[in-house]
Symmetry: D2
Subunit: 443 residues, 4 copies
Amino acid sequence: MGKISAEGVGEVQEYVDICDYATGLSRSLNGQILPSERSGHALLEQWNPLGVVGVISAFNFPCAVYGWNNALALVTGNAVVWKPAPSTPLIAVAVTKWVIVFVVDIGFCLIVPGSALLKIETLFFLYNHMTFRLIEDVLKKNNLPGGLCSLVCGEGDVGQALVKDKRVNLVSFTGSTEVGRIIGQQVQARFGKILLELGGNNAIIVNDDADLNMVVPATVFAAVGTAGQRCTTTRRLIVHESVYDQLLERVKKAYAQFESRIGDPLEQNTIIGPLHNEVAVMKYKVTVAEAIATGGKVEYGGKVLDDKEGNYVLPTIVSGLPHDAPVVLRETFAPILYVFKFKTLDEAVKINNEVAQGLSSSLFTNNIQNVFKWMGPKGSDCGIVNVNIPTSGAEIGGAFGGEKETGGGRESGSDSWKQYMRRSTCTINFSKELPLAQGIKFE
Amino acid sequence: MGKISAEGVGEVQEYVDICDYATGLSRSLNGQILPSERSGHALLEQWNPLGVVGVISAFNFPCAVYGWNNALALVTGNAVVWKPAPSTPLIAVAVTKWVIVFVVDIGFCLIVPGSALLKIETLFFLYNHMTFRLIEDVLKKNNLPGGLCSLVCGEGDVGQALVKDKRVNLVSFTGSTEVGRIIGQQVQARFGKILLELGGNNAIIVNDDADLNMVVPATVFAAVGTAGQRCTTTRRLIVHESVYDQLLERVKKAYAQFESRIGDPLEQNTIIGPLHNEVAVMKYKVTVAEAIATGGKVEYGGKVLDDKEGNYVLPTIVSGLPHDAPVVLRETFAPILYVFKFKTLDEAVKINNEVAQGLSSSLFTNNIQNVFKWMGPKGSDCGIVNVNIPTSGAEIGGAFGGEKETGGGRESGSDSWKQYMRRSTCTINFSKELPLAQGIKFE
Amino acid sequence: MGKISAEGVGEVQEYVDICDYATGLSRSLNGQILPSERSGHALLEQWNPLGVVGVISAFNFPCAVYGWNNALALVTGNAVVWKPAPSTPLIAVAVTKWVIVFVVDIGFCLIVPGSALLKIETLFFLYNHMTFRLIEDVLKKNNLPGGLCSLVCGEGDVGQALVKDKRVNLVSFTGSTEVGRIIGQQVQARFGKILLELGGNNAIIVNDDADLNMVVPATVFAAVGTAGQRCTTTRRLIVHESVYDQLLERVKKAYAQFESRIGDPLEQNTIIGPLHNEVAVMKYKVTVAEAIATGGKVEYGGKVLDDKEGNYVLPTIVSGLPHDAPVVLRETFAPILYVFKFKTLDEAVKINNEVAQGLSSSLFTNNIQNVFKWMGPKGSDCGIVNVNIPTSGAEIGGAFGGEKETGGGRESGSDSWKQYMRRSTCTINFSKELPLAQGIKFE
Amino acid sequence: MGKISAEGVGEVQEYVDICDYATGLSRSLNGQILPSERSGHALLEQWNPLGVVGVISAFNFPCAVYGWNNALALVTGNAVVWKPAPSTPLIAVAVTKWVIVFVVDIGFCLIVPGSALLKIETLFFLYNHMTFRLIEDVLKKNNLPGGLCSLVCGEGDVGQALVKDKRVNLVSFTGSTEVGRIIGQQVQARFGKILLELGGNNAIIVNDDADLNMVVPATVFAAVGTAGQRCTTTRRLIVHESVYDQLLERVKKAYAQFESRIGDPLEQNTIIGPLHNEVAVMKYKVTVAEAIATGGKVEYGGKVLDDKEGNYVLPTIVSGLPHDAPVVLRETFAPILYVFKFKTLDEAVKINNEVAQGLSSSLFTNNIQNVFKWMGPKGSDCGIVNVNIPTSGAEIGGAFGGEKETGGGRESGSDSWKQYMRRSTCTINFSKELPLAQGIKFE
């Protein structure tokens, strides 16, 4: 997708980690035995597999997002059908190599291994010539059917087939809020289960007691890493007025340091790769223009690097906008950072929370009162609520996901596995009598 | 709503029980502290209140359904707005006595204490003259604002106002699958949280080793209790061929015994009260007619008791229908029981699972192999999976709710409280260093 | 036992609270269902009652300690035999009113309701004339045998009978480390279960960033409350050198303010009541003398109030002692506070941890780094690790108890209930086959 | 130790499995965040490492027992000192290769790498010439100190040094009840933590509805596997009178089938290897003699195989003894099976429970009522309560261990990891106020 090597390796590592995690989970996916109020009865809570999990993943994490879903879905006993982003099919093939093709007719969906879909012709050619096929090998070695981890490639019509198919018990969708809003309703309409990981509009709040030596690198990496195309990318920097000038200056200097390290993502020295495609560059341009038109000042960057072949842009810092300007409230998948000033922490939290998205958020402070307030009912309304680390960089042991227009789903750690299962509340009467009200007798 | 006294008292008891349960929960609503993979970091999972919980309840449990939601929503730190069924406002007023009135204009919803809505005029009159007001008293005694437990009465337009209002963070809806399907999509469209408790089409499977002395009363009570108007009412009886004739005979005899005990629900002797209203009687008639037209044989009942004033009908047993006849697959909120025959348990489970609803299910058997199969991935696909007790009669310690078109929500026990909260995954860096990849230094 | 009214009411409130808590627990005492590695098998974890729980409680919380044990032991399905402190039998009788008398002969122990023990003659007289009998009434109302909550009064020989009796499955002992050390071994020798709540030697660490407006009242209440006779009483105050002088001055002033409020514990104005008995006064005197002899300076108090009738002493502050002086390392059950100075937090934590007891500890700081260090592997080694509240004042929702010579037991919240139960790990093969290695066949 | 190859491989597999399990645990070892009753407070439960875990293991599982402890102790953050059985040091060296030597003087214990202990001279020679050293390699690769996993070899005096050393925070002992009783008291005397896995006297109950095709192989494998030297070996067979004769006949036939497969444990065909040493053979002989003297009838075996070089004995079945004969109540570590008859399940459970040991137990039945009774308060009093599988063969996902004289410890799965940690109950006041009773003000 264009990310730099180190980040690519990181994605694979996440897949490895979640597999380790899932192996442990395989012996600890627990239901409960609860005391019954009736003598001679047992109350059990049993978790069973859903059946088929459909995973629709986004271009920006073409490997790890599937990995997270794949590992949990398998360990909870499900089969998985994966539809990767239309622009990253090769990674998907390299990961799985099992392909099932969707033929999508009007109102009719058929899963037929072996049929063909014109638009993935090239894909098939490559598929037949690739030797790198991770999951297939593992399944074969363990005598498991390849269909446990199926891959379907294609555009939105393929995704729609998955979404509307009653046989797909859970649809785990990572992508934009716009698409997620539609998919959510479609799956809900058929009472399927949904796991949504949608847009983020993540902020770092820098309190007056923050250690700026930590804030500067944290901000820069979270704002320009993966060229600003992570769902957890920092897009807003909300700074206490007392450190605002100093911090802005230092962040700008840091950006300048990085300018020579924009380029070919496969080169060792590169820190910032290209945007994913031309549309992304276009959106970057439009957004910068709108920011300026709304009264914003470009503190750094703001330009497409036309001299470089590829979709390269300068990471950008914009100040001076109202914190609730439409361009700020919108998620633009590009390395654009809006900077704001605040007087009180309450005000900063309000700014953090006023966007529609609710994925990630960070506060830099050393004060225990601020920390617990930030995590509490009157603090951040995001799913990820960090302290002294930036908005990106979640660990697989925690539940990953966000509130509000981010969609409410949770992946990876904690009890996220429950989303891949259905719960049976079982009351077993193991006495020889039936407890009944009213004491009526029957012949 | 017309239920008999003993069942009414039972509803109140459920409210009492869930309050006890919630009091205990108040000290055990736990998030987690998890080990972080980074030294000097803590990974916390904090649960925070959602804000406002909207409860839309059904006529058949006009007190307990609210009680379950109310107790959990309060103990998890939320305010509650309740819209009861249009036909049971008095119970709602008696329970709460706090009233906030909705003025519903085109696309506009306003919560204004003190305004008026014509259609609840009478309600207000009664409200002002009632002295029985449970929640209000408790809140006053504890100096809590009455708005914590608001009541709004009205028709579907009031419900729609709640459903569409972004300020209502969770909509907990109990009612029909038809309405739930719409509400589900509406709330999903605004990325609100949804808790759906919709229709059931619940079956009892009677295996050849079942104790018929337990099956007979279990079936009768679960099929005719609350005049067949529970969401957990037994609507299908799936019987092993070896005991079919014997069991049918005994159940019919038991029904006959009850005929003299149909009547005024407030009289001590009554076991079966009336249907809720004339529409319900109409649906009963239509369904019986359709069953007969499809080839069904009325083994018992099938008639409206026209001589009695009120909506009284005979509880009804129908045999001889195909197990997948449309009339069987449909939930009719009336005391109609369809009886089927099976040869193997696998077949019986398949019949149990072939309806669109997934609320409750029971198996009568004494065999451990059957029991665990029934609870497992190839067993019942319902949320409630009972053994040797009928489909009704859940305990508040377990999670109550169902799969498929029943909506997937869970109320009452286990970790149902999580649905009333939002989760924050918090990573706290409490070291003085920022863990960063790539070892880049900043000035 | 001599505590002031407000504290007495507090004890009763704790009993009420734990009953509420236990009521909730009654529906959530959960075992687990875990996935088995063998197909057709279920792995369950079932918790069962132990049988009989013996509670030996101390004089300083003559009501609440029993309450905590009683509520959890009952809700987990056990019967309870209570042996209160020899000096507080009346409270015990008031709480239970059920009496079973131990006749202790050589190597023989008999629980016989109705027999007599000379030394509790007076007790019986009072027993027969008391009308206040809480538990008895509850059991009677619910048709439960009184023996569920038995009371035995007496000296150490009665305690020994309980400790050595194999029928007492769990001995929950609250008292001194000396006695706990013996009892622990005695119960261990017969492989009984033990729950020990022994001595504390609790410290407050005051960091340089602490809010002294919080530290002063916190220290005073925790050091002089219950006349220094709580297991969680603050006995050591470890203060950063930069605030040492200021804090010591303020604490002394606060002590002086309280001097006029030492007296009859039943009077409204009283804040400090008497010591429990003359032995306690003697130990107070000896300890103060030893402290002075070791080089300590009495900053405040140090005197017995001989003019008052009863066991009244002045709360005492001693400075200038080595932090590892024997008198400091020893727990004296009296209001004596030793004050120390530190330079670095690491040093303060080391001082906190160098005593043999490990009950409670507090750090006053606002810094998140300090807080998590304090809670972590290199922080406090106590069972209770507070921040910005003193060493006393635990909540029933948490697990209460301490490490090292405090004995390791945990009461009240979290999963403390597991100590009152035994665990069964159950593997159920519900298939029709036995999984066996080596594929050997049998005729 | 003499076990057959397949069983040896099985031990290694258990070590591998627990490592996988522990890897998963490393991200899910959770404490809790609980709601505080005080506003502005957080109640946390944090688990911290103990420090040093001492593992004293038995000869019969010379690899797996250490593996279970080692994996959990490491993942919970502890260092481990291992003292294997005196007769199996080579396996221990092969597993770890790190050696620290104890010099044990009177009342003084010193852990000094590099010092020497005469009696392990030979060991050192071998140590220096072995190339197979699993843990050492792993630690080195990860730059961890070898001392994390130390090994000390020796006799009881070395064990005593570990047991009495205050620096060893937890002593995990697997061995006989006799030694465990002493060690338990010694560790308790210094308020250390103890995890005891002592003797078993395990029974299989065969109900009248049991499938004998499952019972026969289950019994045989559990009674003769590892030559009857597992702690979970089946030593008692309690059979319903209606199937007694038939079952006994079949089990005897099965034993006879195995006679030709007693021999060199490294040969592929062997199923029964030798006893561990000559003392074990002596005990076997004495026990058989006592059984006969008490009135028992040797149904099969009962003889030492003197013609074979090595400690070979015939697996033995004895009938006709009183179920409470001293020889039955005692655990003899040899393949001797006592057979009894029962009339009612209650009687059989009583026999199961009347021994002092409480490790493992099995019931063969297909009846749900029996199963839940068996698992419940009036069922088996063992830690392992199986159904339709024999007494041996625990899974690492469950908690392994037993009640009564088996010692009460739990290893491997569920929450066993908590035994390797200490719990801190932390209340953090993050408000700026101190909640205090009585409203007293300070200057």
